[in-house]
């Protein structure tokens, strides 16, 4: 543990003697859970490009700014015009910004797991005290946390702004809380889906394309079908169609339970009964993603 101590030097004497022999380490070894936490913090930092090259900081930081700027503008407008309410609900914000969120998970999920596969760093991790489950948990938690930071930061901007604009405190706090629960669910779901897709391929490009495809195609297909169902008057089908894309799933959950107004056509959110199905599907998907990741990494040994 001792730092290399230069020998005391007499003034004017520039020579220093360093002890360059090998020193054994007899300090503490903190074991498996510490190693897992280290992997978590390294992956979380990595999700914003920290500890990596300047180039890899650009995209995540840019997306973070893009997420926050509209919130800042809304706050500025609300303060300037002395509006009675924020132009956008806390729960609605993530749904509006879903393209940015999808882009973020598409770029960072492969960064988190495909790199380890591609450069075969995974065997090095498993030659350490951690086990497969620790690796999966650390990576999952790290990406979900990164997503939460991304989606919760603009909500904080909105909340602080709302308080500065002297909007109703209780009302805003409730909305803010509901928004946080919603983005937490969204972070877990998106992180899970992104990681499962990315962990299949060691090629980062494929990973990015596949995640974007799954996120946007499913949303496009679902909202088109909902629009058709709406125009044909079969409004009861709309909530059920919404079960098939991650964004509409979150939308459904929050409009059923978190007091959000739905973005579904005709603004018909799922009823409470249907909402239970939504919640179960979201939780089931998150669990399924975790299970799939565990299965995937059982095969990736040395």
């Amino acid at each position: 543990m001792a730092v290399e101590q230069p020998m005391p030097t007499t003034p004017g004497d520039q020579t220093r003697i360093h002890n360059i022999g090998y020193r054994n380490y007899d300090g503490p070894r903190l074991g498996r859970s510490y190693a897992t936490r280290s992997l978590y913090s390294q992956s979380l930092r990595g999700a914003y490009g920290l500890g990596r090259s300047v180039k890899s900081k650009v995209l995540p930081m840019l997306l973070f700014v893009v997420m926050c700027v509209p919130a800042a503008i809304m706050v500025a407008v609300a303060v300037a015009t002395k509006a009675k309410d924020l132009p956008v609900d806390y729960t609605r914000y993530a749904i509006i910004m879903q393209a940015v969120i999808s882009l973020y998970v598409a770029s960072q999920a492969p960064q988190s797991v495909s790199r380890d596969l591609r450069f075969k760093t995974v065997p090095l991790y498993f030659s350490r005290p951690i086990e497969t489950a620790d690796y999966v948990r650390a990576k999952f938690a790290a990406l979900a946390s990164a997503m939460f930071i991304l989606t919760a930061a603009p909500l904080i901007v909105l909340y602080v702004g709302a308080l500065l604009a002297k909007l109703d405190f209780a009302d805003q706090t409730k909305g803010f809380g509901q928004g946080l629960v919603s983005v937490a669910l969204l972070s877990l779901l998106f992180a899970g889906i992104g990681l499962v897709i990315a962990s299949v391929t060691p090629r980062r490009g494929f990973g990015i394309a596949a995640v974007i495809a799954v996120m946007t195609i499913s949303y496009g297909a679902v909202s088109t079908l909902q629009a058709i169902a709406d125009s044909q008057g079969s409004t009861s089908a709309i909530p059920w169609i919404g079960l098939f894309s991650p964004v509409t799933l979150i939308d459904g959950v929050q409009s059923a339970f978190l007091g959000a107004s739905s973005a579904f056509p005709g603004e018909v959110g799922p009823s409470n009964g249907e909402g239970v199905v939504y919640v179960l599907v979201v939780l089931g998907l998150i669990a399924a993603c975790y299970g799939l990741l565990m299965r995937r990494y059982r095969k990736v040994g040395l």
Binding site: R29, F119, K120, S127, R128, P129, G301, L302
Partner: protein
Amino acid sequence: MIATESLSKRFPRVTALDRLSVDVGPGVTGLVGANGAGKSTLIKILLGLSPASEGRAEVLGLDVATKGAAIRERVGYMPEHDCLPPDVSATEFVVHMARMSGLPPTAARERTADTLRHVGLYEERYRPIGGYSTGMKQRVKLAQALVHDPQLVFLDEPTNGLDPVGRDEMLGLIRRIHTDFGISVLVTSHLLGELERTCDHVVVIDGGKLLRSSSTTDFTQTTTTLAIEVTDTDAHPDGTRAVREALHARGVEVLDGTNGLPGAGHILLLTAQGDETYDLVRDIVADLGLGLVRMEQRRHHISEVFHSDAEAQDMTKEAAVHGS
């Protein structure tokens, strides 16, 4: 350090290890075998990452089947393949790996600086690994295996892809891991010659079976071949022939093993019986007034050991085929 007892590993199609029983003590131990002989499988089992089909193994007195995590905390592993992300610096990477081994942040940074210096990486350690040469990458791989000051390291083919100078440096480094750092080493290679010079003990496996386990001195006594090349002078227009005849006169026969190789006519091969052979060659060359261009121990390919073993122990043809 390591003890295995009729350790077997069977995959649906192949038997990677077949009732292997071997004892490895402290020091530098070479694990030699052709590709697919079961070296990497053995390391995987010893790290507790892959269960054995049969038999048992202990590393540092800990059972691999139940104490995997404890073993991995005290053991270092340098894989054969590339395992370094190109966009981070060596320092960053090794610090991370140190923390993954359970070292607290400050200790991880100190140990990283120390270890990278010991493996011979200086200013370049702050640059991204992507720009490193193969030799430097091998050093980073070695550093991440040593950074947590393990009691034992597994080095899987550490000289792979290195040029002769890089190879020698790496072998010197491996030697120092034991002599200076006090860490025992299990190093694999398919080149016996390399390991002869570095290891205290050599274990040869083939087809998952133990072929031989002995200290290196035994090996060198039976297998050292000396290659000699001399200059020609006016007095002796064909210096090579003159030496061969002089050796013949002293009763030392030259081996016939360089046929077909470029420059083969100018290289003499003979079996070294010990220090006397070196002295004899030196004296003969000096007496003839020739220049000695080279006198070196020939590196053996693993197959040669198998062949000589086959001759010596009258082994079955099958084993010889395996070896070649």
